[in-house]
Symmetry: D2
Subunit: 294 residues, 4 copies
């Protein structure tokens, strides 16, 4: 199989490499001349045999919107476009409609695994028509981890279902990280009793209920920098967590732990907290409690 | 009636004044010679007619423990000791037992109202024997706001019940403050749309569902300092909120809003967040996401 | 002044009455013949002198959309349309644009006060052009509580700001209710110690930090039904709380207490909890813990 | 090595088996004659060579207190007592003091792994004196999973540190379960889009960021009962989660996700929610909103 891959950044570049290792021919396009295989999308179309499979791996939102529009200018009827980026699932309906207007097929795929995916394989969640998903099967099989297909790939449902599943995956991920982080903070606060915080996490890697990949990574981080002295507690979020909670609100699903994880990140990025200013102001008003001047 | 009052700080001093305004004779003792009426506890005993009512208004914990012990050295059988400070309710059982060993009666009273209590009156929650509470009625009536007794005073139950009710009062207070603070932060974040944040809070003071004393105080604070620029978002907590949640945990009572309010205060006092360091470290490990160096 | 009022339900009907008491002439329209003043919108237009002020008080969403569209069919250039319902603030931009296309002016107004507004007056938060808000001033003054205008009315900002402020008001309201409710549950759980739960809340009505209108209402409810035995713990939500949190997520504002309040309502409406089924299933898997069969 | 093991229930019984498989001689005592190796503690002492290692594996709290007391009646100076149950870490100081009074050494060990530990090995967290931990090394090595010792065992600190680490482990575990459960509930709520919820979880088992042992168990549970129709959403908690949050409160550590997980369990066990009754009562009071009769 020979596909086109648009977007050769941290994720896309590694995916090209893993696909090639897996026997899939890949022609990649990226505006960065240092990494691209072809000079432009027209050249990409010329290089990939029809009916083409073109996989997009670019930032979600405006960039993906533009790339979808540009690609649909040059793709042909019967081609299949797959958005493998972190798009919000509601964007898929729009993109699929745009594609359909040109006779181009559309599918979406959530991709998990980060920088480790190149060697470990990526967890894949696809959404779309059965025939389209089957057409792309060799790509999924090359990207996913070795082992039973069902443990690293799912055709979750119709168009949008792949990104939806990835969104929920990331929401869960946020809360799993928060869980470990809260435990870490408590253990670190009791250094009078817990003399080996890193050792405790390390010992949890096997046999325990909490064993998990994120735990393994935390052990790795703590071994590199016990005390995490070199890292500031400033945490970005890339959108999926918020979308997860917004979906939960739309569907009346209680989501206290995942939302708490996102709010903690919001706070971590604030110089000072407007809400805590308000609480301090209130305490001063009613109790004459001292406040710190900003 | 003539009582003894031990502790003439911010709260105790105002309470002496309000009691006197209300016709209760008060002899106050405080280690601070500038405010005390008598030089020591022995002089206090001499000044107050038996059976004495001695009201303690000192910081909870070790200080209250010491004052109770010292007082029981000099009080006589049949006297009544009332702890009006912010003691944890579990301390009352202990203090009552100490008192009983000397034949001294014991009651507890939660007091709310802060610096405004002098003029507005204090909300009072008492715990103890019916006869003891009745004996102290003139004191309660002088301290509580004018109007129907039931709207500013309750005999909540046996010894400890007064402090318990006050503890829960403060837990509720924390979440009410947090509620206003979260709303403030969102309104302030949308200054593009909300051109008059202070005006919005001011307009809520009458007619709305959220009207409340804390709202009135927030309006006062915002008028003094719109934007709360002079106040740092650093918020202490004095224990009652934590105790409330610990009680909730002991009795399997879900308490998500009150606990969230306390955790927000904890975060407000951290230079950097160990848990957010851990999350940042994890994101760096799996995604190669940039972190800020501490 | 003579205005048209569309929607004479629980809120609209009371508002007509209060406006009339306040000297504003009102012609009301409602599809319900038992309450309407005129048979249809055309008759409404005929009854109200131009330039007209037409106030909408109907359910938000599809109903408001339809009423706006229907009214714009019959209103004239220079008329002013005010949506006083609980519309989501994003709808205002759309409605204002529709109105502008017909030369009709548009403003929005959040209204708080529930069934008590008739006698107490309503808290009002308006959004729109200065000239339009001034034009409607007699209406605002009749609806708002007596006393200083600024304590019951605000012109919060441009179109949408009124509904935005009302949305945040309701978010705060949710958390204030949750705060009281959590305190209630803990006090009720300790009936061994707190012998008079209703009395405790009653005593908080004056002098304390938590005194508030919602507290007064809780006292009223507890006096009618101590133990709340006749009421099921099943709580609807009307949208504003969810929108508040969704806005918070969009603007990276931490909102743990308000979101907790909404999630608690979601749970209250579930027959059984899918997430707790999952947790029970997990405990069974790893620990052989007994589960209850559904 | 030859040790005594007191308590041969679900955990203790499996541990005896794993120890024997690992070459450690075990004499077990349990009041249940069907499983015990000796008729009483005196016989246990007679069977185990001195200096003895006696490992307790019984329910925490009163039962452990009693077993410790009974054992110290029969143990000899120089023997080592290890509490491997789920005791609260504060109990260890008390038990160690009791032991010291008899010249008996004391250590504590948190044990994780549930019913899978027999075959997979148990994650172990020990607290105590270095010499005592070394004396017990053959037991730890037989119980822990095969592989590097540090990945399944830690000497976390002085007496109490083992149970402390286990307590935090369980707190993290609660939030990890809650994370998966919230994601499950949202996916299940969107069955219109997600046609294969079980498949999604299954696909996350490899390559993804959320891969973990608990995820594997959820897949197992969903395969046995998709929809979890046979399981009620009723979840017990065994104490460690509450203790974790109580410790967090004592040390000002924010813990929003773990506390949310515990509160969700509390709610899951309520027939009706007192706090939601209060909220419903409030909505009825101010808005005339319909309530459901209980």
């Amino acid at each position: 199989m020979h596909i086109g891959l648009v977007g050769l950044g941290k994720m896309g570049g590694n995916m090209r490499e893993r696909l090639r290792r897996g026997g899939v021919e890949v022609t990649g396009y990226d505006p960065n001349p240092a990494v691209t295989d072809v000079p432009d999308l027209t050249a990409l179309m010329a290089a990939v045999p029809a009916p083409r499979l073109i996989w997009i791996m670019v930032p979600s939102g405006a960039v993906t919107d533009k790339v979808v529009t540009d690609l649909l200018e040059v793709m042909d009827e019967g081609d299949l476009l797959i958005d493998g980026g972190n798009s919000r699932f509601v964007d898929d309906a729009r993109h699929a409609e745009q594609a359909a207007a040109k006779g181009v097929r559309y599918a979406d795929c959530g991709v998990s695994g980060g920088i480790w995916g190149l060697d470990n394989g990526y967890g894949l969640m696809a959404g779309g028509e059965k025939a389209d998903i089957e057409f792309a099967a060799p790509v999924f099989d090359a990207l996913r981890p070795e082992g039973p297909r069902a443990e690293g790939f799912v055709h979750a449902g119709p168009i949008g279902a792949g990104h939806y599943a990835k969104m929920v995956h990331n929401g869960i991920e946020y809360a799993q990280m928060q869980a470990l982080a809260e435990g870490y903070e408590l253990l670190a606060a009791r250094s009078d009793l817990i003399h080996d915080v890193t050792g405790v996490f390390e010992a949890w890697q096997r046999g325990t209920v909490v064993r998990s990949w994120l735990l393994d990574l935390l052990v790795k981080a703590l071994k590199e920098d016990p005390g995490l002295d070199d890292i500031e507690g400033f945490v970005e979020d890339s959108g999926e967590g918020r979308w997860t909670v917004q979906e939960a609100l739309d569907h009346a699903v209680p989501m206290p732990a995942i939302s708490a994880s996102i709010f903690a990140r919001f706070v971590s990025r604030q110089e000072d907290s407007p809400s805590m200013k308000a609480v301090a102001a209130l305490r001063k008003q009613f109790g004459g409690h001292a406040v710190r001047s900003a």
